[in-house]
Symmetry: C2
Subunit: 491 residues, 2 copies
């Protein structure tokens, strides 16, 4: 049999780690906190990238590439920014190795010390705004709508595959605008792009909101986010879009001449999602048999497994399989026909369940006789025998149905695990017994937020952007609150 | 007018640099030796990436991602490899910054020193073969055909945009095989893929060959390469494919059980091309007016410029332009209609010449009257008036013709600038007066190669893989030579 993974109920965290490794998604590298993204995991990331990249381009953005290194002094130019990132920076201090004269092997050459240390980018606002100073002179140069796909490094003490790694892959959009309103509109537009991507492609319902002070991006005026609920009742921030105001324009002296010939500071935004999305995708939908992938992001959407005795039967099945494969491929569906003779059908079934392939077609001798195929769907594990004729149409609509079903299931789970708390005691009880999202009143102060975090480990995930405005009183201090905010324990 | 660039004749090197900057391809960053790839330059790189990625996948390769960091000790495991790369490594020694107690701003926290320094990958053989040890147990796990798109860092003392930068983008394929022959076949297959890409997409004729000892990749048994000739008569290595033998398998103890149940060392290859290809593309075809892009890699293949007086005329032209655009787009041709009113037609003409857009369509009042358009091709600068009706078919075939024409022009240039030298004096004279590729006899020793390099700055670009075997005597030592090899001064 293929590799089994622990059950979610037993140990959710171990289930996740083993699933990531055994499904061939990623593994730990010899370098502490860095991961190796394995081919199957990377092929899912590629689907994520392609779709997002298309959505960015459709909203007028272009890709570019900025350096991996940031001079130490740049990081310090925006006061909040350095405060937020200095504690977790990988620092390059030398540019050469040499053979040790005492035969101790290869050592850092002390003579090759950099005059100014270089930081591996934890995010690129500083180096990009330093560049924008030269790119922007007049209102005609605005808006500047740029994105980059890159690796970044934040020296994390506790890491987990995809969810929190020292090096991770991401995209970071950095835009510059002539007016505050335009920058705000861009910030919200990209939040909407992320939400649409999460819901339509990842099949992941999200709540859009704005962060409280303590969770705001270091250097932003406002951080918008999308928040999703995982199966263990913990929240996961799946994307952020920052309204930077004129903070980085001030720090890097980026001004433009407006249509009236007057000089003004430029307005900015930045927004990003990362390989963390892989963690969200895995944790939101998968089960005890392995990964469950929404068809829209599955690198293999349909796998065909032959069940046969002897070479002649295999050849007969291959004829049928190739025909199905050609027809499905012609409709833009990705199909794998696994005719390896090194593994038995049962092993293959378990393997593709582990890997979350949405649809499995099995073809055996009886199917040959009856002109049928067996179709199994990964999400519900339902199986049925279908006539071979026109099975492509059925499979195509099945994939669409599964995409919706996986979303609906996650949506239902979130509804079941979203609560309102009307007192701090109730809040703590829900947290302890049920977990999930909790809507509660808060007085808007950092002190109260800190106290709640310290006492319960729950944080404010966001102040939702919905219109459910309902005045009340803070569950901790009794002070007035204009609306409920979203709390949860979070990844 | 748009920005003019120097003429090639005046100063080829300055022409190149100014072209790269003014056409919006790339610029220097504040970090020494690192470049910023600007949106237009990056969009060409994306086309290169997409096509190569497709070719890699069509030959059975999958993408993955390995860490940016390599532990210092890993680099030392293969003796030649460390010798080749240690002198140009960016070294991470610390993982935290802090506020200086003496108020000197932000400093590296001396308490956050790494136990073992990390090298920013200059190439990833070490960390990948360390991983392959765990991925490969049996012949069933082979071949392993993996590629990654990544940034790498080599601390270069003299850098030039795209051609030689401290950080650059590339792809690196790393494959593992059960037999020597299979690994050799893979090495050559990927060389062929590179050559096909260069010729069909970059319109760049290349010579395939194998490197002499001194130019071989550090850690390889043999390095295969493609070599192209630039307009200044210098050669540029456009891609390499390495047969690693069992060197990295030995260094990282990567063994497999063969079909007879016996343990064997794994055979390896690696192969890569980088953003250096951008430099080759620019230098091979461009002229004094700017970039000349082969249509197959042009992000904008056709630009439409309206020539109008007043809003009403612009609207009329827009109707025609939109129709042409829709038809061309429908045929998979990328079209930009530039109706900006902030720039005059002449400015736009110069701008798109600078940016190398293959076909320019101008539509003015006379064209409206006569149902015509003016079509200008970038490569020959020929212009003609065409009937509007069915102009799409003409433009489509024009793009194909231009792709071939640009290749032919480069091929012709190479033929004109390829010489044979039958004595060392003749060799030196050709080098001095004409430059270009020189075929000459060489005795096969490092000493002679070094002497030639020292005295003439020319190097052996490769021992060609063609079948022009013609025995002779070394032009320097008079010792026997089995065939002529390819010399040139090189980038």
């Amino acid at each position: 049999m293929a590799k089994a993974i622990p059950r979610r109920e037993e140990d959710y965290s171990l289930w996740y780690n083993e699933l990531v490794k055994k499904a061939g998604l990623a593994e730990n590298s010899p370098v502490r906190g860095c991961m190796i993204i394995k081919p199957y995991g990377f092929s899912i990331w590629e689907k994520i990238q392609q779709q997002l990249d298309l959505m960015f381009k459709n909203t007028g953005h272009e890709n570019a590439y900025f350096p991996l290194f940031i001079p130490k002094s740049y990081l310090s130019k925006e006061a909040d920014h350095v405060e937020g990132f200095a504690k977790e920076c990988a620092v390059v201090t030398h540019y050469r190795l040499k053979n040790d004269e005492n035969g101790k092997g290869i050592i850092v050459d002390p003579e090759a010390k950099l005059e100014e240390e270089l930081i591996i980018r934890p995010t690129s606002e500083t180096v990009i705004w330093d560049t924008y100073r030269n790119w922007i002179q007049s209102y005609r140069d605005l808006p500047l709508l740029i994105n980059q796909w890159a690796n970044v490094v934040r020296w994390e003490m506790r890491t987990r595959l995809f969810l929190r790694t020292t090096e991770f892959l991401w995209q970071e959009g950095h835009t510059a605008h002539a007016t505050k309103n335009e920058a705000l509109a861009e910030t919200k537009q990209m939040l909407d792009v992320y939400a649409e991507f999460a819901e339509k492609f990842m099949a992941l319902p999200v709540i859009k909101g704005v962060k409280s002070d303590s969770e705001r991006f270091a250097g932003a005026v406002d951080t918008y986010c999308i928040e999703a609920l995982m199966q263990d009742g913990k929240a996961l921030q799946a994307g952020t879009s920052h309204f930077l105001g004129q903070n980085f324009a001030k720090a890097f002296d980026v001004k433009f001449t407006n249509q009236e010939g007057k000089e003004e500071l430029v307005w900015g935004t930045s927004w990003g999602v990362s390989t963390r999305l892989m963690g969200a995708l895995i944790m939101a939908h998968s089960d005890d048999e392995g990964l469950v992938l929404p068809p829209n992001l599955a690198p293999i959407q349909v796998v065909i497994v032959p069940i046969y005795k002897g070479e002649a039967q295999l050849e007969e099945i291959t004829l049928v399989a190739d025909r199905i494969k050609a027809k499905l491929t012609g409709q833009g569906i990705s199909v794998k026909f696994d005719r390896r003779d090194t593994h038995k059908p049962g092993w293959k079934f378990a393997e593709y369940e582990l890997k979350g392939v949405p649809v499995r077609i099995a073809i055996g001798p009886k199917d040959l006789e009856n002109s049928t195929i067996e179709v199994a769907r990964r999400d519900t594990k339902a199986k049925q025998i279908l006539p071979l004729l026109d099975c492509e149409e059925y499979i195509k609509s099945l994939l669409n149905e599964m995409q919706i079903n996986i979303y609906n299931k996650a949506h239902h789970f979130r509804a079941e695990n979203t609560h309102q708390a009307n007192s701090y005691d109730e809040f703590k009880e829900i947290l302890e017994k049920k977990g999930g999202f909790i809507y509660a009143h808060w007085d808007g102060t950092n002190e109260t937020e800190d106290k709640i975090k310290e006492e319960t480990k729950a944080t404010i995930r966001c102040i939702p952007l919905d219109d459910k405005i309902e005045p009340g009183t803070c569950m901790v201090t009794g002070k007035p609150s204009s609306r409920r905010v979203l709390f949860a324990k979070a990844y």
